[in-house]
């Protein structure tokens, strides 16, 4: 209930609907007599003190009639909605119990009917059922049914295709039980939400029918009928149409806003947005002079989100030209956000801060905007996990590559396109000129990832950030992409920051490994030492838990008990202490990342 009243729209919707409900219950009780009182002395009057909205052709007070007419409007709308919902849900559920052919017929009919405007269906039904409230209610019910049927079908199909329904079927759970235990509970919520908005729609449609003279007939009256009466006199006394029109509009708005807010609340339940900013991470150590040779130098990088969520906490990293550095960690360790932060791509409301962030010898914070864009656009290449999602499905490959050259290097379209073809050839895409004219979906997964790498080579990349670039690919394709990345690094002299959860891939490709845990670097070492010289207990456990082609099959695999703390609950001390065999009282204090051997640093009090 609280989320309803958090936004102005929610408050307005709730208030309006409450008002309508009260009016429907109390209106006729209070103003019923007044609305029916005939006064031959006050026929067809305009607005006055006695009759704020005027009177009708029998001298009855229009304001009173509007207040009374709400019950019929809302009541008929409710009946029409229920007819539509019941018929629609039955129609929508039918295909799941019918034989295949009959099911397809029902689905086809529903799909065809959904396309028809409701008013058309309502008029059709009203012609058959005859003029009057009954015909209009039936008609609008019939017009609502296809929408409900379609929604039920879509929802039921998505639930029926879910793995847990497959499992239930394999466990021999009966169809009826699958329907009542799995399908219905999981589709009830969106259906109920839809009811609110359908109710508003039905009310409007009924008002429309009555307004056209096709709905409620005298002596009964609803808002639509009152508007019909008032509309005839609109040129003489516009006020008489005002009351019913406002009532219809307010009711429509109320139900629609309420439905909106309910739907939003249902879809957002999982994410509690907080206001407090992340805790500041204490800065440690001397900043020192910038490393002029490094391609990338990051000192104390922190990424914080509102609500005390700090996924990256004081990370420092230096990458030299020609070097391939592997950044390894499990999901939630902050490795991907580190990549985004370096590329300046952390989404709002994330806040990035660093004591130093230098790319190609230039301090990104001090560079003028124009130069910074050019530097990042041409010197930094990024490759993401899913090559299909990384390419724009609507644009041809060649065009997507070429724009880097036209935007940042002032190349003409022809030159840029020629360079794009050249780059595609460079990453060994066969028939590059033909491929450049194709859309991404016409390429295989491995080919697409090559195209993304080629895109990074359009400028003069000094740093390639590859974020899980082979995770979505098959092993044989993975090997080709890894080989390509290595070649590209060798040829261009660029550095690569390779991010992966797979320590074996890192071990095969990289020169140096940086291990992240809960937003911090816990160890940094040359790749040769990864298997046997790792000093941090987390790195050692990670290596031990990875089965490879030589693992002793007679012994159980190592695994780490517990789980990595989420970015909102990282402790002040060593984040791994809870899961660590070596943990001692000292671990309540944060261990600094300190040199351990040559080119090897570790953040652990117990590392010897």
């Amino acid at each position: 209930m609280r989320h309803l009243l958090r936004t102005p729209a929610g408050i307005a919707g709730t208030l309006l609907v409450a008002l309508m409900v009260i009016l429907a219950i109390a209106g006729p009780l209070i103003w019923g007599a007044e609305a029916e009182r005939i006064d031959s002395a006050a026929i067809l009057q305009g607005a006055s003190a006695a009759h704020p909205l005027g009177t009708d052709n029998l001298g009855r007070d229009i304001l009173a009639r509007v207040l009374v007419g709400g019950r019929l409007s809302l009541g008929l709308a409710l009946i029409a909605t229920l007819i539509g919902a019941v018929a629609g849900v039955l129609l929508g559920a039918l295909p799941s119990v019918l034989p295949r052919r009959a099911a397809r017929l029902v689905t086809g009919t529903v799909n065809a009917l959904v396309a028809f405007p409701g008013l058309l269906l309502a008029m059709f039904t009203a012609v058959i059922a005859g003029l009057g409230a009954r015909g209009a209610v039936l008609g609008i019910g019939a017009a609502l049914a296809p929408g409900f049927a379609r929604l039920t079908q879509t929802l039921a199909a998505s639930v029926a295709g879910a793995d847990y329904v497959s499992v239930a079927r394999m466990l021999g759970v009966s169809r009826w039980r699958v329907l009542t235990r799995h399908v219905l509970p999981n589709i009830a919520e969106p259906l109920i939400l839809n009811l609110t908005q359908a109710l508003g729609g039905a009310l409007i449609a009924l008002a429309g029918m009555s307004f056209l003279g096709l709905g409620v007939q005298p002596p009964s009256f609803d808002w639509g009928r009152l508007l019909f009466d008032g509309f005839g006199r609109i040129y003489a006394t516009p006020a008489v149409a005002l009351g019913p029109a406002a009532a219809i509009a307010l009711a429509g708005i109320g139900f629609n806003l309420l439905g909106d807010v309910l739907a939003r609340a249902a879809s957002r339940r999982a994410t509690p947005p907080g206001e407090a900013a992340g805790r500041p991470v204490p800065e440690v150590g001397e900043l020192g002079e910038p490393d002029q040779d490094a391609v990338l130098e990051v000192r104390d990088l922190t990424v914080a989100f509102p609500g005390g969520v700090t996924p990256v906490r004081g990370l420092s990293l230096t990458v030299a030209p020609g070097e391939i550095v592997g950044l390894v960690g499990e999901s939630g360790s902050g490795k991907s956000l580190t990549a985004s932060a370096i590329g300046g791509l952390v989404p709002y409301p994330g806040e990035v801060s660093a004591r130093r962030l230098r790319l190609c010898g230039a301090d990104l914070d001090e560079l003028p905007e124009q130069e910074r864009r050019k530097l990042l656009g041409t010197s930094l290449a990024m490759v993401f996990q899913d090559p299909m999602a990384s390419l724009n499905p609507a644009l041809r490959i060649g065009g997507q590559l070429a724009e880097v050259a036209t935007v940042h290097q002032g190349a003409s379209r022809t030159e840029a396109f020629a360079r794009a073809v050249d780059r595609l050839e460079h990453v060994r895409i066969p028939e590059p000129a033909a491929r450049a004219r194709q859309h991404p979906h016409e390429l295989s997964g491995g080919m697409r990832q090559r195209a993304v790498i080629a895109m990074g080579l359009m400028g003069e990349p000094r740093l390639i950030i590859a974020d899980e670039p082979t995770t979505a690919l098959d092993v044989t394709v993975q090997r080709e992409i890894l080989r390509l990345l290595r070649e590209v690094t060798d040829e261009t002299g660029a550095a690569t920051l390779f991010i992966s959860h797979d320590i074996a891939v890192i071990g095969e490709l990289c020169h140096r490994v940086v291990v992240m845990y809960a937003g911090r670097v816990v160890e940094e070492l040359p790749v040769e030492g990864l298997a046997s010289d790792a000093a941090h207990p987390y790195t050692r456990a990670l290596v031990a838990s990875l089965p490879d082609m030589e693992t002793d099959r007679s012994r159980p695999l190592a695994s780490i008990p517990g789980r990595q703390p989420s970015p909102a609950e990282v402790p002040d001390g060593c984040a791994f202490a809870d899961r660590c065999e070596l943990a001692s009282a000292k671990c309540a204090e944060l261990p600094p990342l300190i040199p351990y051997r040559a080119g090897h640093r570790v953040a652990c009090w117990e590392a010897k």
Partner: protein
């Protein structure tokens, strides 16, 4: 419009046309076009049967209901015979289909006018209104939705988001006939800027089109915003941002084409909804279209006219849906369309 918004990549602009033809040829080959046309024909047949059945589903005798209890028995019998209502139902259906296909929709009970002429003289007025309103709604709503999405991405500018969703939520909920009444009251009766009713020159189009397009504009703007937000969160936009493309290029060249599929689908539905919505607007503005006529025919039980007009409305819906399907099939290179 959509065609001109499709970028033609880096190649010469003739490439765009050639690729579209290639895709269309592909679609023809894999039976996509054929399936859609077959579905259209089947729906049309069902529609014909439904409109035929309408006359027979009316309880009692439609002729008696129309002429009233006072009409002489001979007149009713003569009318029944003229309509062929005494023949076997199947032969009635066959002759109905034959007549409709040859353009004969019967004659009005009341005025004796051929229904075909009523439709021919009034349909253009209805279609004109609906088409212009659809175009206006799309032209205003798509940029509006994109702008809102860009401003409110990832939950920034909460104020804009709240204002946008509340305003469009309220605008969607108010039906076109209330907009009509409000606009007439203020601009025609009060300020006397526009004629209150009838079709007389370009000025008389303004109020009906405004009333028809306000809530669809709000609805499409919401869809456009949601679609744009989804595209903005995708990896290719992240990559385009990593490439530091200028904002205009990012939004118009990368994002817009990908939101058009959904917008067009809705645009098609919208046109059909507007044709129906125009019934009420025509009524308010006494607009000489089909809508005004269908209301009269239903209230006066002039069944042949009601039957003919509903059939025409239904056929328009089917034609528009077919065209939208085919257009999407050609435009969408990733064939996201469900092949059902």
């Amino acid at each position: 419009m959509a065609e001109s918004l499709r970028p033609s990549a880096a190649g010469p602009s003739a490439e765009g046309g050639r690729a579209a033809r290639r895709t269309l040829a592909g679609r023809v080959r894999n039976g996509f076009v054929l399936r859609r046309v077959v579905r259209f024909v089947v729906s049309l047949a069902v529609l014909l049967v439904a409109s035929f059945a309408m006359m027979h589903l009316i309880p009692g005798d439609p002729v008696r209901a129309s002429l009233g209890p006072a009409a002489p028995v001979e007149l009713v019998a003569a009318r029944r015979a003229a309509l062929g209502l005494d023949e076997p139902i199947l032969s009635q259906l066959l002759s109905y289909v034959r007549n409709v296909l040859s353009g004969d929709f019967g004659t009005s009970f009341l005025s004796g006018e051929p229904v075909r002429e009523i439709i021919a003289s009034r349909l253009p007025n209805t279609l004109g209104l609906a088409l212009i309103a659809t175009v206006v709604a799309l032209l205003v709503a798509v940029p509006l939705g994109m702008w809102a999405a860009i401003r409110t991405e990832n939950g920034r500018n909460r104020g804009t988001e709240v204002t946008f969703t509340s305003a469009t939520g309220a605008a969607v909920a108010v039906p076109e006939f209330l907009y009509s009444i409000a606009l007439v009251t203020v601009f025609a009766i009060g300020l006397r800027w526009f004629p209150p009713a009838g079709k007389a020159g370009p000025v008389s189009y303004i109020l009906p089109i405004l009333s028809l397009s306000i809530s669809p504009t709000a609805m499409i703007a919401r869809i456009s915003r949601v679609e744009t937000l989804r595209e903005l969160g995708s990896d290719y936009v992240r990559l385009a941002r990593a490439k530091r493309l200028p904002a205009a290029r990012l939004y118009f060249r990368h994002v817009l084409p990908n939101t058009l599929t959904a917008t067009l689908t809705v645009g098609g539905l919208l046109l059909t909804a507007l044709i129906a919505g125009s019934v009420l607007v025509e009524y308010v503005f006494a607009w000489p279209g089909l809508g005004l006529r269908i209301v009269e025919s239903i209230t006066q039980k002039d069944y042949p006219v009601a039957q003919g007009v509903i059939l025409v409305y239904g056929a328009i819906v089917l034609v528009v849906n077919l065209l939208v399907d085919l257009l999407l099939g050609v435009l969408d290179p990733t064939s996201k369309l469900k092949e059902t």
